[in-house]
């Protein structure tokens, strides 16, 4: 997979806490305490140029917060975010960085202004960044962007409601490409689409990556989709990355018990009639996460240390690309044969 000396995007020990305390008066009268939600709690990863990093996890694990931290919609509580070697977390919006980084959202019905024509939607970033001045240049650029995503340049005169969900997501992609970005953050870009349309959009994203050398951060709860698009995958649980590995390694020999559980739970076409492995428990309340390893109440391998000490993301012996945050893996307590790949 593509590797260059300097990663395009780097996160180092990034955290974001939200104060979700009840109002001051309630705290005084009802003696309620301050409450802090640790949405993201010490996440580190990097994305190389031309690479797709997938981020998977269940609702509330913090994957969308990571996306919003990178694009600057939230400021991190601590940690550093770097883009092409420059810190971007502390400074105000830097137009050059904003231009190089764009986001595609989940819901193509909510992320396009229904009162604007498609041409204006796609032209907005071009105008906002002053990338073209004359309306002739802008129109030409919009036309070529629409064609690049498989629409006709004449479609620019229409309104979003005249398009299907898949076509709307193409419009979102065209808008994201308008500033000629190097890095796209895709937050569940195909979750609202039907499978045959999802295939069209995923194939389009792959083609654009090849043609334009884009890097993606691809966030999804759908493991099969991530398996299809990603080069490396990070699995998140309650605000932390528990395993980060190349896609084929993660899907064939997952290490962390949570990753194993997640993979075993995916319904798959090849598993017709096969008995499924029981999945125990649910994600705990993030306001009151378990002490030690957050996964320990659901983990079949948990012991005293797991209940006490938060595991750090460490390299697995023998494989420099795989990092896992698990005491059991580190101590070799985990039976390898326990997992049979789906």
């Amino acid at each position: 997979m593509p590797t260059s000396a300097q990663p395009l995007v780097e996160l180092e020990n990034v955290a974001r806490y939200f104060d979700v305390s009840p109002p001051w008066l309630n705290r005084i009268l009802e003696r309620q305490r301050r409450q802090v939600l640790k949405a993201v709690d010490g996440v580190s990863f990097s994305v190389a140029k031309g690479e797709t990093l997938g981020l998977v996890g269940e609702s509330g694990c913090g994957k969308s917060t990571v996306a919003r931290l990178i694009v600057g919609l939230y400021r991190p509580t601590r940690g550093e975010i770097r883009f092409a070697g420059r810190r971007i977390d502390a400074a105000g919006p830097d137009p050059a960085v904003r231009r190089a980084m764009q986001m595609i959202f989940q819901d193509p019905y909510a992320s396009l202004n229904p009162r604007w024509r498609v041409a204006d939607i796609v032209a907005e970033p071009i105008r906002a960044h002053g990338l073209a001045r004359s309306s002739r240049d802008i129109n030409a650029r919009v036309g070529s962007l629409l064609e690049q995503v498989g629409l006709a340049s004449a479609d620019g005169a229409k309104y979003p409601h005249q398009f299907s969900g898949g076509q709307r997501q193409r419009i979102s992609i065209a808008r994201a490409l308008a500033t000629q970005p190097a890095f796209l953050i895709c937050d569940e870009p195909t979750s609202a689409l039907d499978v045959s349309v999802q295939a069209q959009v995923l194939n389009l994203m792959r083609r654009l990556q090849r043609e334009l050398g884009l890097s993606y951060l691809f966030i999804s709860h759908n493991l099969a989709v991530v398996h299809h698009v990603a080069d490396r995958v990070g699995a998140m649980y309650l605000g932390r990355i528990v395993e980060l590995a190349p896609v084929n390694v993660l899907f064939t020999s997952p290490q962390h018990p949570y990753t194993r559980m997640l993979l075993a739970a995916v319904p798959d076409l090849t598993r017709t009639g096969m008995p499924r492995t029981a999945v125990a428990g649910e994600v705990p309340n993030p306001l009151d996460p378990p002490k030690g390893c957050a996964f320990h109440p659901r983990c079949p391998y948990a012991d005293e240390r797991c209940r006490r000490e938060v595991p750090r993301l460490k390299h697995v012996a023998g494989d420099a690309d795989v990092t896992v945050a698990c005491h059991a893996v580190e101590e070799g307590r985990l039976a390898q044969e326990a997992f049979t790949a789906a």
Partner: protein, 350 residues
């Protein structure tokens, strides 16, 4: 009146390994079907045109069988399910065909009689557990109300039955949970409560419309296992409506694939998945990303499903079909046997 409630331990014993149950005939013609839908047609009249959401759909479900119904948004799968439980929103109406539960016709029942069938004989589980539950009542009150509506039980017996139902759908500490409100339950636990409600009167058939779509994968797996176990233990038949082929693959015995208001293919689940006979099914299967296969690009069906006001003549799939020929544009194919499955495609006529 005593009810056949299995003890929890007996349940666990039985759920350890699935014994193949009788009546799981592949083409549903050896056992008397529980539900028979014949030539169902559902119309939604509007000011200028009448939209046909379901057009000549026929299928049957035998006792204890799980029939999966898949298709993309707007294919008519949910409308078909709503027609069976008599919950088509006006001005929509059943404009043709008939629906038989056992040997009783239910599509033309008066609303009051249909209300008794619904819940007592056919249970329903919908996608969003939060909108299926009343936020102002405790879970127990909703369960007890449903139980006493359909069964002649004293309040105490109904309360006992409610506790048993909660235990059966796998809710820990039911004695404590029964007095809690829906917002105190997590999404997966709420869906279990909804399933308990659907089971309250021991119906013979459950219509489950996207029961796992709003849930996380690990919870989704739990709900699928629960539905399967309940079918096996009670001989309950399930019509499982979903867009997720993976869920169907693991849960259903047979599957019906819908496109633009019609069934284009129906057959045993492994045949439809591994040897699809209809080009649409083939395209659909190829477009699903899988964690077991490495593919450079996904098979892609160009275009989108037609809107209901613009269904093409002949086979509705012909504008997107890679194998289209003259007859497809002129004549609409009916389901015909192709090996173990039935497909509505002219390719299979020689």
């Amino acid at each position: 009146m005593t009810l056949p409630i299995p003890e929890v331990d007996r349940l666990q014993q039985r759920s350890d390994r699935a014994a193949p149950i009788a009546g799981r005939a592949t083409l549903a013609n050896t056992v008397a079907p529980l539900l028979t839908v014949e030539e169902l047609r559902v119309e939604f009249p509007s000011r200028d045109v009448t939209l046909v959401a379901v057009d000549g759909v026929s299928f049957s479900i035998t006792p204890g069988e799980v029939l999966g119904v898949v298709g993309e948004s707007g294919a008519g799968k949910s409308v078909t399910g709503a027609a069976v439980i008599g919950l088509i929103d006006p001005p929509g109406r059943i404009a043709g065909g008939r629906i038989m539960l056992g040997d009783r016709r239910i599509d033309n029942l008066p609303p009051e009689a249909m209300r008794r069938v619904r819940g007592r004989e056919i249970g329903a589980v919908f996608q969003d557990p939060l909108t299926s539950l009343n936020p102002l009542y405790t879970v127990g009150r909703q369960l007890i109300e449903t139980i006493t509506t359909h069964l002649d039980l004293s309040p105490r017996a109904a309360h006992k039955r409610a506790l048993e139902l909660l235990a059966e759908v796998g809710i820990p500490a039911p004695k404590r949970r029964i007095d809690q409100y829906p917002h105190q339950f997590s999404g997966g636990m709420r869906q279990r409560v909804v399933i308990a409600l659907a089971l309250a009167a021991s119906p013979k058939l459950i219509i489950a419309d996207e029961p796992t779509t709003a849930l996380d994968v690990s919870i989704q797996a739990q709900i699928i296992m629960l539905l399967k176990r309940l079918c096996r233990d009670h001989g309950t038949a399930v019509m499982l409506i979903t867009h997720d082929m993976g869920v169907i693959a693991e849960t259903a015995d047979r599957v019906a694939v819908m496109y633009a208001g019609r069934i284009v293919e129906i057959g045993p689940v492994s045949d439809v998945i591994h040897r699809p006979a209809h080009p649409y099914t083939r395209g659909l299967m190829g477009s699903i990303p899988s964690i077991a296969a490495d593919r450079e690009s996904l098979a892609q069906i160009d275009g989108t499903m037609p809107r209901l006001n613009a269904i093409p003549p002949g086979c509705a799939f012909h504008p997107r079909c890679p194998h289209v020929f003259d007859r497809c544009r002129r004549e609409r194919p009916e389901l015909m046997p192709v090996g173990p499955t039935f497909a509505a495609c002219w390719l299979h006529v020689h």
